[in-house]
């Protein structure tokens, strides 16, 4: 078995940060290379947990929408998550007008989802 996406990104982050960026120094190119290294490192960590996070939020969206009597796209629908979000946006807008408890549930869902989506900045390089 070859490298997973997360492993690939982590390996590339290491190469970029350890080989490419130092070679280019403090120049624009060097700092751009360091930016890429930092991004790759963050995306590697993100990729490892993405499938589980997407499944969890899809499940939570579906429960909320179903409880509100809204039909959800089938599990096999290719654009299922964007469609769930589009339905959620409409549900939240209506709840803000007429259902404070549901509106609060919507806000908590967004808080919990986005908290899990946050990326952890890479540690600064150790002093030489």
């Amino acid at each position: 078995m070859g490298l997973t996406l997360a492993e690939s990104l982590a390996a590339l982050a290491l190469s970029q940060g350890a080989l490419v960026a130092p070679a280019l120094g403090e120049s624009y190119a060097g700092k751009s290379a360091a930016t890429i290294a930092a991004l790759l490192a963050m995306l590697a960590a993100d990729a490892a947990s993405r499938p589980a996070r997407e499944a969890a939020i899809a499940s939570r969206l579906e429960r909320l929408l179903s409880d509100a009597g809204i039909d959800c796209p089938p599990p096999e629908a290719p654009d299922r998550l964007p469609r769930l979000w589009a339905a959620f946006i409409d549900l939240h807008a209506g709840a803000d007008v007429e259902d404070p408890a549901l509106a609060r549930a919507c806000r908590l869902l967004l808080r919990d989802w986005t908290a899990g989506e946050r990326l952890v900045p890479p540690l600064p390089p150790p002093d030489a």
């Binding site: 120049s27 624009y28 700092k31 751009s32 930016t35 890429i36 930092a38 991004l39 963050m42 995306l43 964007p82 979000w85 589009a86 959620f88 946006i89 939240h92 807008a93 803000d96 609060r104 919507c106 806000r107 908590l108 967004l110 808080r111 989802w113 986005t114 908290a115 989506e117 946050r118 990326l119 900045p121 890479p122 600064p124």
Partner: protein
């Protein structure tokens, strides 16, 4: 290393442009690009003639950029601030149509000896943070103490709170490619609760944050940079943006890694002669998050389009996008008046 064709072309433009300005032959030395501002290209260089050598900076539009703003407006704001004694680089020449610099842009004098912190720099000011904070928020206050003139209102966008919100809402509609449930909910609340003006209109920097403040090793503020989002509007916008946690370098309880919020506000109130509109702080804090999301969503669109290879565009569409998505969602779930 192969010569950068962009740098070679730019050096030729600069030599001719500064040569005409000085009425003497000029050569360009030490041309190097600053990293971090994908919205514009910013390069420093030494202009050298037979009788003088000056460190200058050129700022111009790239092929694609984060924010659609005018170099002429930016030049006006910079000139206005510099003339008023606010720490800012001295503007020298505007090329509004790009016929001299290769793209719309301007020249200014370099401010030597300073550094603006990077987004991930921990505790960027160290033991001098209090001095930096006092001077930073005093400089902002002096800006807000200026009374916008007719020339200011002709040269700069004039946008109150509702106008700024409409501007960013339209920007998001133009650039978003996926559902944005957090931004949509936040805009809905902001539209329903637009506050009255906090006072008379002011000159607003528009991107006042730690990364746009040049500071020396003693903590003294040398210059406020990047005036491209300057406009006439409500100064609460600048305060809320400066205090946004994205620019806080992870230092809880401090604003822009410098002062506790009340001390920063006190420095600003003393310098500006204004009072913070405390009843509208929540609105402006949420607005700051939405503004950020608008900028990061636009950045993602430009990274996706591929016209500008600068990785800062992709970075902006990933890290700060998720940061502000989470921060706005957290505010609306946990804090009054939303929770």
């Amino acid at each position: 290393m192969h010569p950068d064709p962009v740098a070679v072309s730019l050096a030729a433009c600069l030599a001719e442009t500064v040569g005409r300005l000085w009425a003497s032959p000029v050569r360009i030395e030490g041309l190097s690009r600053f990293h971090g501002g994908a919205a514009r290209e910013t390069w420093r260089f030494d202009a050298v003639s037979a009788s003088r050598r000056e460190p200058l900076v050129v700022r111009r539009d790239p092929a694609a950029s984060l924010i659609d703003t005018s170099r002429a407006a930016e030049f006006h704001a910079l000139a206005r601030a510099h003339a008023a004694g606010i720490p800012a680089p001295e503007p020298l020449l505007l090329d509004a149509d790009g016929s001299r610099l290769g793209a719309p842009g301007f020249l200014m004098r370099e401010v030597p000896g300073g550094r603006a912190p990077g987004l991930f720099d921990p505790d960027p000011y160290g033991a001098t943070r209090a001095r930096t904070g006092r001077e930073m928020f005093a400089a902002l206050g002096w800006l807000h103490a200026l009374v916008p003139t007719a020339e200011d209102q002709a040269a700069l966008p004039v946008q109150d709170a509702a106008g700024r919100l409409a501007h960013w809402k339209a920007d998001i509609a133009r650039h978003a490619r996926q559902p944005e449930p957090v931004t949509t909910a936040a805009i809905r609340w902001l539209e329903a609760h637009v506050p009255p003006p906090s006072g008379p209109p002011a000159l607003v920097h528009g991107d006042f944050r730690s990364g746009n403040v040049l500071v020396d090793s003693e903590g003294a503020v040398l210059a406020l940079l990047d005036w491209e989002m300057a406009h006439v509007g409500d100064p609460m916008e600048d305060l809320a943006w400066a205090m946004d946690p994205l620019w806080g370098h992870g230092m809880a309880g401090l604003v822009a890694a410098t002062l506790p919020p009340e001390d920063a506000i006190a420095a600003w109130e003393s310098a500006s002669g204004r009072c913070v509109a405390r009843e509208s702080i929540a609105w402006w804090r949420l607005f700051a998050g939405v503004q950020g999301l608008a900028i990061w969503i636009a950045s993602a669109a430009q990274a996706r389009a591929g016209a500008n290879p600068d990785p800062v565009l992709a970075f902006a569409g990933i890290y700060p996008y998720r940061f502000h998505n989470a921060e706005v969602a957290r505010m609306m779930a946990e804090e009054a008046p939303w929770a």
